[in-house]
């Protein structure tokens, strides 16, 4: 069994109002240094078989991410 992590982010050109709302909340907590926040999704998959990376890539492409608005990255744990 292999642990695979998939991170999904809105494409850079897509407005992320949630990330913006988080960024705007930070100065009131004293974090004036944070100038931008983008919010994404993090998935941890446990995959059987020898081609876990390829399987996770297909899963991400088919379901976890919507390629119209999102990019994804697959990390296979060592």
């Amino acid at each position: 069994m292999t642990r695979v992590v998939v991170d999904v982010m809105l494409k850079p050109e897509i407005l992320d109002p949630q990330g913006q709302a988080i960024q705007r909340a930070l100065p009131s907590l004293g974090f004036d240094q944070v100038t931008a926040v983008r919010q994404g999704k993090h998935f941890e998959l446990e995959v059987d078989g020898s081609d876990a990376g390829a399987v996770a890539d297909q899963v991400a492409r088919t379901l976890l991410a919507n390629p119209v608005i999102e990019d994804f990255r697959v990390h296979v744990a060592d």
């Binding site: 897509i14 109002p17 949630q18 379901l63 119209v68």
Partner: protein, 225 residues
């Protein structure tokens, strides 16, 4: 013979009952369809209603897309079946790739609920043939993730080919690109929109009856087809 118009119920659908009622008031026979069935029950058209299918988990419409009934809808749509996606139904149609683009969180982050003015941009779909192109209607809008987005090339193609069906007027409620409230596919048989025509079919329960013509349109398009 009365036309049969199906309304799909997914787990989390909210507006299926109102859609069935709208179909009945338009003069067609409403047929309930179940997300877990591989059976369209010989309907002449399908409505995907509003709500929160599968709890909106992952992305709105992302999981509904893989339900058994949607496999049938996608196949039938390719063969010309008239399909209308309202709100969550529009999201399901985009996730199913029956319509281009996607619907994401409203620009202002707020859930929006109001009576929305729209311009009907084209009468050349089975769902809008009873409207005059350019006419304005008022129907309810209620969503948190109704901001229509697509890449600039797709937006240009939609505009150039007359596939923008509804546009917001009197203010853009959610930041949808180019004020787009609804679109159609290339063939014209698949239409999706965020506002709710099924909530505006009589003055007693809605802001008016401007939505009823959408259901009458599809009924008449079958008679003339």
């Amino acid at each position: 013979m009365t036309a049969r118009i199906g309304v799909v119920t997914f787990p989390g659908s909210l507006d299926d009952r109102d859609a069935l009622r709208a179909v009945r008031l338009a003069g067609a026979e409403p047929i309930s369809l179940w997300h877990g069935d591989h059976d369209l029950r010989q309907v002449d058209a399908v409505v995907l209603p509003g709500g929160f299918s599968y709890g909106d988990y992952l992305r709105c419409g992302a999981i509904a897309r893989f339900s058994p009934i949607m496999r049938e809808v996608v196949e039938a749509a390719a063969n010309g079946l008239a399909v209308l996606g309202i709100c969550n139904g529009f999201q399901v149609l985009c996730e199913s790739h029956l319509l281009p683009g996607a619907l994401i969180r409203n620009a202002g982050l707020h859930f929006t609920c109001l009576d929305q003015r729209l311009r009907v941009e084209t009468a050349s779909t089975p769902w809008t043939s009873e409207y005059a192109a350019g006419s304005e209607i008022t129907i309810p809008l209620k969503n948190g993730e109704g901001r229509y987005v697509a890449d600039p090339q797709t937006l240009d193609d939609l505009e150039a080919s007359g596939r923008v069906v509804f546009r917001y007027v009197g203010g853009n409620p959610n930041g949808s690109l180019r004020d787009i409230a609804g679109i159609r596919n290339e063939a014209g048989n698949v239409v999706g929109l965020m506002p709710h025509p099924e909530h505006a079919i009589d003055a007693l329960t809605g802001p008016g009856a401007d939505g009823l013509a959408m259901f009458v349109s599809v009924l008449k398009s079958m008679v003339t087809a």
